[in-house]
Amino acid sequence: MVASSGVIRVVLPAHLRTLAHVDDEVTLHLDREATQRSVLDALEASYPMLRGTIRDHITQKRRPFVRFFACEEDLSHDLPDAPLPDAVATGAEPFLVVGAMAGG
């Protein structure tokens, strides 16, 4: 794993893009190691309206119907302080926040 290049790309699901008033992927500047926690902390600092929509306000656990992907891997069950893949840390690949498919 490598240290963050300083730029992290995050792709939000459509409903959260609307809520955050963004049209495309979000670019975050990170001065720490890229982990789920540090990326989501930075995301919520830039877009406070997203607090509570991806992870619980109190427990900080991922909401049940939200998933995290990157580099074609499901990272949803990784520990929040585990380093994200190098390609995410360097900005080469985005960190994907996905609303789980549900329905019938």
Binding site: P13, H15, L16, L19, M49, R51, G52, T53, I54, H57, I58, R63, F65, V66, G99, A100, A102
Partner: protein
């Protein structure tokens, strides 16, 4: 000319319907927050351009939106609803203890005098308040903490605080209703509460003096007589003449006394409206006929209002927050259905016409009567 603004919450977004005082031609705006469930939106009586909306989703949780311009633009405000102290437990469906967990805001009730103060009724049942326009929310913990909270049990729709009624004559007096705990009143602005369920009779509750456990669906009040309350219970339409200290049944000749929605005429405190629903397992009108029933005698004697409403093959429901009245001289009455229709009557219920027919399932309907300076159509 004055106007009206009808605020409609649906399963897939919010809609704002506006008209002048004639209430014939309507402008439809929306969906706002498309794809999200809008359990309720309501305007401030102190500032009609200040609106609040409860937006939620099974994926992304609870959002509260605020508008300062009558619904043209919206800004998300704080969505953090944290129970005071150690939340404790209520009863689960099987009678076992279950931790209190926040799920969503069912009802937003703005203060009658301050646009920055709003009460929020939530699931699992509790009452929250903001005094800064939604920037922060605090629980009024005396309600859950008054003693019976651990015995509260959810109704089929969850353990939800769905009704908040403010007393226009006394800011310290508030009435709330919880499914399926019952009705409660505070006389000290939410510090302490007492159950007000005496006289309610519910199948499955053998103790006629049971303090809690009744499935109250809705409470309505006329602002000129805050001591007189009307209630649509799971079954039974009830009335109290002593601010909820005691209740008596006024179902009278209704074809079914099961239902959800209820309201009171804006200028006639003894005129009330309900929409009978067939039964607790058949949530549609009796005989496939959508009928509003009006009593001009404070209950017991009811007349069916049918002109303009479907009188065959109609199997929609009208939910508890989906009926409202305006305050124009000829009182307007409005309700929305789970089939996506919003009906309006500009003559107190004598004649009805749909404003819109094909919205997503309607969860809530509120009406604002606008002065000429704010009416746009």
């Amino acid at each position: 000319m004055s106007g009206v603004r009808v605020l409609v919450g649906t399963r897939k977004g919010a809609f704002v319907l506006t008209s002048d005082a004639k209430r014939k031609q309507w402008d439809v705006s929306g969906p706002h927050f498309g794809g999200w469930e809008i359990y309720h939106l309501k305007g401030s009586a102190a500032d009609p351009n200040r609106l609040y909306a409860s937006q939620s989703s099974g994926w992304f949780g609870q959002i509260i939106q605020r508008s300062n311009d009558g619904g043209k633009t919206w800004q998300p405000v704080d969505n953090k609803f944290v129970y005071d102290g150690v939340p404790g437990t209520h009863q689960w469906y099987d009678g076992t203890p279950h931790p209190w967990e926040f799920k969503r805001v069912w009802h937003l009730e703005p203060s009658l005098t301050d646009p920055d103060t709003v009460y929020a009724g939530v699931e699992d049942a509790a009452l929250f308040r903001t005094v800064d326009g939604g920037q922060t929310w605090q629980e009024l913990p005396g309600l859950r903490g008054h003693g019976s909270g651990p015995a509260w049990q959810p109704g089929a729709g969850g353990l939800c605080l769905h009704t908040v009624v403010l007393d226009p004559s006394d800011p310290a007096r508030i009435f709330v209703a919880i499914s399926a705990a019952g009705a409660f009143r505070t006389n000290d602005a939410g510090k302490t509460w007492r159950p007000i369920n005496r006289g309610l009779k519910s199948e499955g509750i053998p103790d006629p003096n049971a303090e809690v456990g009744h499935c109250v669906h809705r409470i309505a009040m006329h602002r000129s007589r805050p001591g007189v309350l009307f209630m649509q219970k799971h079954w039974d339409v009830m009335r109290s003449d002593d601010a909820g200290d005691s209740w008596h049944e006024v179902s009278g000749n209704l074809p079914s006394d099961f239902g959800f929605a209820m309201d009171v005429h804006a200028h006639q405190p003894e005129t009330l409206y309900v929409v009978p629903i067939k039964s607790d397992s058949e949530h549609y009108p009796p005989d496939g006929k959508l009928r509003v029933y009006r009593s001009r005698t404070g209950g017991n004697e009811w007349e069916a209002l049918t002109k303009g409403l479907p009188q065959r093959d109609c199997y929609v429901n009208v939910l508890r927050d989906a009926m409202a009245v305006d305050t124009l001289d000829s009182c307007g009455v409005y309700f929305g259905t789970t089939g996506g229709q919003v009906y309006a009557s500009a003559d107190a219920g004598d004649n009805w016409a749909p404003i819109v027919r094909d919205l997503p399932a309607v969860l809530s309907v509120e009406v604002q009567t606008l002065p000429p300076s704010l009416a746009e159509v």
